[in-house]
């Protein structure tokens, strides 16, 4: 009897594993321009990426434009550790909150078309249960959503959200469903009073774009921004599409002991709304941010508003993030001001910065999250800036 029970347990554990046996061709690879190898510092950058992965990253995907205007992109590490699949620059990474730049750009596209005034209240455009049940939603302006001064409760904060996303892996949530996690919660502050980063703001902005344009956020972004820029790898998640298909696996140190597990069951929730729904190659992400900041996506007046900034409260400052714009985070680095954003989900960490004064772009994405990986990411960014600016 004892042997039978023991055998039953062993068989149960072995049969209840969820390893996906995948091949390299199962990971979507996009054609990139053959420019990376031509960069005079190509070997130096590739050695840098290799070294950083050796320090303790699952995989690192990177794009750099040096101040001579030449771009390099490369990768190292694994897209899938279990199946021993090498990460490539042609793979798309999950950029999480870096997507907020695109959502803001979509809002300003509609501003340019005369369909949105950012000084208006959100309630001038949207109605529905979430407007009634999210405290202060009817009071906030579009501008306060864009610059995170709305004070609206961040739906990502409650433990209930995290438990739901673990308990119901791969369940699709509409923006309205996500916003339910903010129902009845006290706002951080009164609208316009101060800054408090909240993902709720950008879920609502995504809904605003959809309402005013009459298209899904994904379609609007594709037709109005990404296709005109020729960015074929950029994909905006929706409720029907699981971004895990063909995307490198993300890894998370769930127990805080520097042992990673595959975590895509946890981050899929972030992937179908305006607060973080984009996957892309690092090269296409770089082109998008550069073209946006060059004034080739929205009008110069709208770009000026996007960049218009204010100093963050002390408790929100960190890793050069000193100021905030309307869709851009603004980083005061030793090498000048960078515009961009950082992104984090339970499996991917991304930084996307462009330095307009020097023309330098630094983009990198790591498919792992742990305390040590956070530290490596910061050192990596410092080392990369030093390398690019102090050649």
């Amino acid at each position: 009897m004892k042997t039978f029970l023991l055998l039953l347990l062993v068989v149960s554990i072995i049969s209840c594993t969820n390893y996906e046996e995948l091949k390299p061709e199962d990971y979507t690879c996009f054609t990139l321009p053959a420019i990376a190898q031509d960069h005079p510092r190509a070997d130096e950058f590739q050695n840098f990426v290799n070294a950083k992965v050796r320090e303790g990253l699952p995989g690192l995907n990177m794009m750099v434009r040096t101040n001579d205007g030449r771009a390099w992109f490369g990768a190292a590490g694994k897209a899938d550790i279990h199946n021993n699949i090498t990460l490539s620059p042609c793979h798309r990474m999950i950029i999480a909150s870096v997507s907020k730049i695109a959502t803001a750009a979509a809002v300003f596209k509609l501003v340019d078309a005369g369909k949105i005034d950012i000084n208006n209240k959100l309630s001038d455009y949207l109605s529905g249960e979430y407007m009634d049940k999210i405290e202060n939603a009817k009071e906030v302006t579009i501008e306060q959503l864009l610059d995170h001064t709305s004070g609206l409760f961040d739906y990502l904060n409650p433990t209930k959200w995290e438990l739901t996303s673990i308990n119901e892996p791969y369940k699709s949530e509409s923006p309205a469903e996500k916003l339910k996690f903010a129902y009845g919660k006290s706002p951080d502050h009164a609208p316009g009073e101060t800054y408090a980063y909240s993902n709720t703001n950008y879920v609502l902005l995504g809904l605003l774009v959809e309402k005013v344009s009459g298209q899904t956020l994904a379609t609007f972004l594709a037709e109005q921004i990404f296709i005109p820029l020729g960015l074929n790898s950029v994909f905006v998640g929706d409720e029907q599409t699981h971004l895990r298909n063909g995307t490198p696996k993300g890894y998370l140190d769930i127990h805080g002991n520097e042992t990673l597990i595959e975590s895509e069951f946890w981050y899929h929730y972030d992937l179908a709304t305006g607060d973080g729904g984009i996957i892309t190659t690092m090269y296409d992400l770089g082109i998008f941010i550069e073209e946006l900041l060059a004034g080739n996506v929205i009008s110069s007046a709208s770009l000026a508003t996007m960049k218009d900034d204010f100093e963050l409260p002390e408790d929100w400052k960190g890793f050069y993030h000193e100021r905030n714009g309307h869709g851009f985070e603004i980083y005061e680095t030793p090498y000048g001001t960078a515009y961009g954003h950082t992104g984090a989900v339970y499996g991917f960490l991304t930084i996307a910065w462009h330095f307009p004064d020097s023309g330098v772009t630094i983009i990198h994405s790591i498919n792992g999250v742990s305390d040590k990986i956070f530290d490596i990411r910061e050192q990596l960014t410092d080392d990369l800036m030093k390398m690019v600016f102090e050649e």
Partner: protein, 198 residues
């Protein structure tokens, strides 16, 4: 190690207490595991399957209630997140009501050994590699609510095959104290049968 010793000590106490009494019941159940706090979602959410074997010993009979020592061991598979082997011990306070139905409640204490269904990976010699997953020991504490009904009476005896439903609200810990998540909740909804064997 301290945790394991504490658990073994508690189990020994429970077993020695139970041995002094009579009326063993044994059962088997299927489990719907839910990593959530008590909610209607425990029933409507996705099916994370499991099973358990249990033993019960009647230790005290009062006019309107029974005191029962309960042991349970089993397994659950929470897709992508966790496979768990658990051992639970506890006391049930059972209240027979009309129509032979019995309601019960009682505290639970136990041990949980969890495995990652998608593997574990560590940075070794400059790259991440899959490592052998020997599992992770944690503790369980919680409360069980139950309902039991004699489904089939066994001929020429006072015994019966009882259908039961248990709803156990448990807390697993330590989970990830370093990451600010010291404990996580589990709900085990079990449906099974018990039979008095001797």
């Amino acid at each position: 190690m301290k945790r394991q010793l504490l658990f073994c000590g508690i189990m020994l106490l429970v077993i020695s207490h139970a041995d002094a009494q009579q009326h063993w019941k044994f059962g088997v159940s299927t489990i719907k595991a839910s990593l959530f706090y008590p909610s209607i979602k425990n029933f409507s959410g996705p099916y994370h399957p499991g099973f358990s074997f249990l033993g019960e010993r009647l230790v005290k009979t009062r006019k309107n209630s029974n005191k029962i020592i309960s042991f349970e061991g089993g397994f659950y598979h929470h897709e992508y997140f966790q496979n768990g082997i658990f051992l639970l011990g506890g006391i049930n306070y059972e209240y027979p009501i009309k129509s032979k139905l019995k309601l019960s409640w009682g505290p639970r204490l136990g041990y949980l050994h969890t495995f990652s269904p998608t593997g574990k990976y560590q940075h070794i010699d400059g790259e991440f590699k899959q490592i052998k997953d020997w599992g992770r020991p944690t503790g369980l504490v919680g409360l069980a609510l139950g309902v039991e009904y004699p489904m089939i009476n066994i001929k020429d005896s006072q015994n019966s095959v009882d259908l039961f439903f248990n709803y156990q609200v448990l807390v697993e810990g330590p989970f990830a104290p370093g990451a600010g998540v010291p404990v996580i909740p589990h709900i085990f909804s079990s449906l099974g049968i018990k039979v008095k064997l001797f």
